[in-house]
Amino acid sequence: MIQSPASSKSIRPGPLVVIAAVVGVAAIGFAYTAGWLSPHRLTPKKLVSALAPPGGPALGHRRNHAKGICFTGTFEANGDGSALSKAQVFLRGQYPVVGRFNLGTAEANAADAMVRVRGLGISITTPDGQQWRSAMIDAPIFPVSTPQDFYELLTASASKDPDAMKNFIASHPGFTTFLGWAKNGTWTGSYAEERYNSLDSFLFVEGSGTKHPIRWSLIPAAQPVPISPEELAKRGPDYLEQEIAQRVAAGAQHWSLVITVANPGDPTADPNQAWPPDRRAVTVGTLTVQQIEPERDGPCRDINFDPTVLPAGITTSDDPVPAARSAAYSRSYNSRTAEASYYPRTETGAKQ
């Protein structure tokens, strides 16, 4: 039935059409999956680009929370977390921590008093080789509910349209809760006096498989001393880094890690909504910051504090934000590591 080309020079068009169709459909499917045919898809690239300040991103630095300082220390678990999660990090014991205090800004040289949000990233390693990474901030809630809303917030705040923010707030009323904290919340003069919150909800998983929706916070042992941003500005643009270095050199700083367990029906999927204050809270251990090191040559520099790097015993929940953070942090990491020459290390031979 089928002609052999050896016996005939004419090739029927039918088979060629089939071949072109198969290859074409596969290529189009690939292009669609890659997002090339969906210009409106919110990609990590779009989200990260929207974070950039007007002058462009700070090359070699994180695309957000760009200004920061490294620390090392320990997490000492008291064992109480084991009732909620099988992760080794909650077994009574002491585990090494690499972390980073930071400011919620895309400007690596921002003045401390100009930045409302402060953050803390940690990576705890346990003897079983697993890691728990987290990036927390001092705000009590996330500004918005979803990654799409966050993108719209970034777009509106960068917009030249004078009504852009007004329109954003009108369509995202949850943002006003965050604004209330931003305007009326206490400023302190030290990273050591801040409370850092996970904001996002995660699931703790027991050995039996039972899951508990939770959030967590690091509560400082240091007493917060309120300060006005004007007073903070007078102390210099990099006061917070100088202060934490001196403070830790004089004595280790401590935070209690408190797990808040949701009641059924609490809004686990919405980091913009706080849970009622009477929820069960379990103190599971103490973070101790023992040594501060500048980021340029410090141990936190090459770590992506991706909040979805979790040990077995902790997983993401129905909160949509950690996935977007993971995707965006990864993109930021890929960009900044490729730009390392813009942020050179000072130690000779420190770089491979």
């Binding site: 039935m1 089928i2 052999s4 080309p5 050896a6 090739i11 088979p15 060629l16 089939v18 071949i19 198969v22 290859v23 596969a26 290529a27 499917g29 690939f30 999956t33 890659a34 997002g35 898809r41 919110l42 990609t43 990590p44 989200l47 079983d128 080789g129 697993q130 890691q131 990654p147 090459d302 770590i303 992506n304 991706d306 979805t308 790097v309 040990p311 077995a312 993401t316 949509p320 950690p322 996935a323 977007a324 993971s326 995707a327 965006a328 993109r331 990491y333 890929n334 900044r336 590591t337 490729a338 390392a340 770089k351 491979q352």
Partner: protein, 184 residues
């Protein structure tokens, strides 16, 4: 490395089609995951890593089978340049199947990420933490993925050409089940 058989051995054919599904899935997962910020991102990444390691293991088994069983000879009437392209493409496929998972693993190692396969099962780091190595490996992983997909498209086009136009029995050497209509 040719054999007198007219078909690849059953384990070779089984692995070919199993890996075809795995690798195509892997390439789609790869381009899909880096283009989304939805919770699908995490699901896709969680599949990408263990599937990559599975492909590495299967590729090594397949290489051993290939050395052990060899491959059926190409039709004698095939022009020399086509034979060369066919043989070369097989070397490139093996190189990609083995190197892509290793590059991915090394890339995660150089970025100080834990290489979690599932649950508490994770792989050791195979490179020191290094931004420059990470950058090099990331670009290699990205570009080779597109090269891999392009090679697969050419492979599919070529085998359809052999089956639908030449009907020279090459498709039958790897067909999942014996097919009819083969010329003598």
């Amino acid at each position: 490395m040719t054999t007198s058989r007219t078909r690849f051995a059953t384990p070779q054919r089984l692995l070919h089609w199993l890996m075809a599904v795995c690798i195509l899935s892997m390439l789609f997962i790869g381009v899909g995951m880096v283009s989304t910020v939805t919770p699908k991102y995490l699901t896709l990444v969680q599949i990408h890593k263990p599937l990559g390691i599975a492909i590495l293991v299967l590729a090594l088994i397949r290489l051993a089978l290939r050395i052990f069983y060899g491959a059926p000879a190409l039709p004698a009437d095939l022009p020399e340049p086509v034979k060369l392209a066919a043989n070369l493409s097989q070397y490139i496929f093996y190189a990609l199947m083995i190197s892509m998972p290793l590059i991915g693993w090394a890339m995660l190692s150089a970025a100080s990420y834990p290489v979690v396969l599932f649950g508490s099962v994770h792989l050791p780091s195979i490179l020191p933490v290094s931004p420059s190595l990470h950058t090099l490996l990331w670009h290699a992983h990205y570009l080779l993925a597109f090269a891999f997909f392009g090679l697969i498209l050419m492979h599919v086009a070529a085998i359809l050409f052999h089956k639908l136009i030449r009907n020279d029995g090459i498709f039958e050497t790897m067909a999942p089940v014996p097919t009819h209509g083969r010329p003598e």
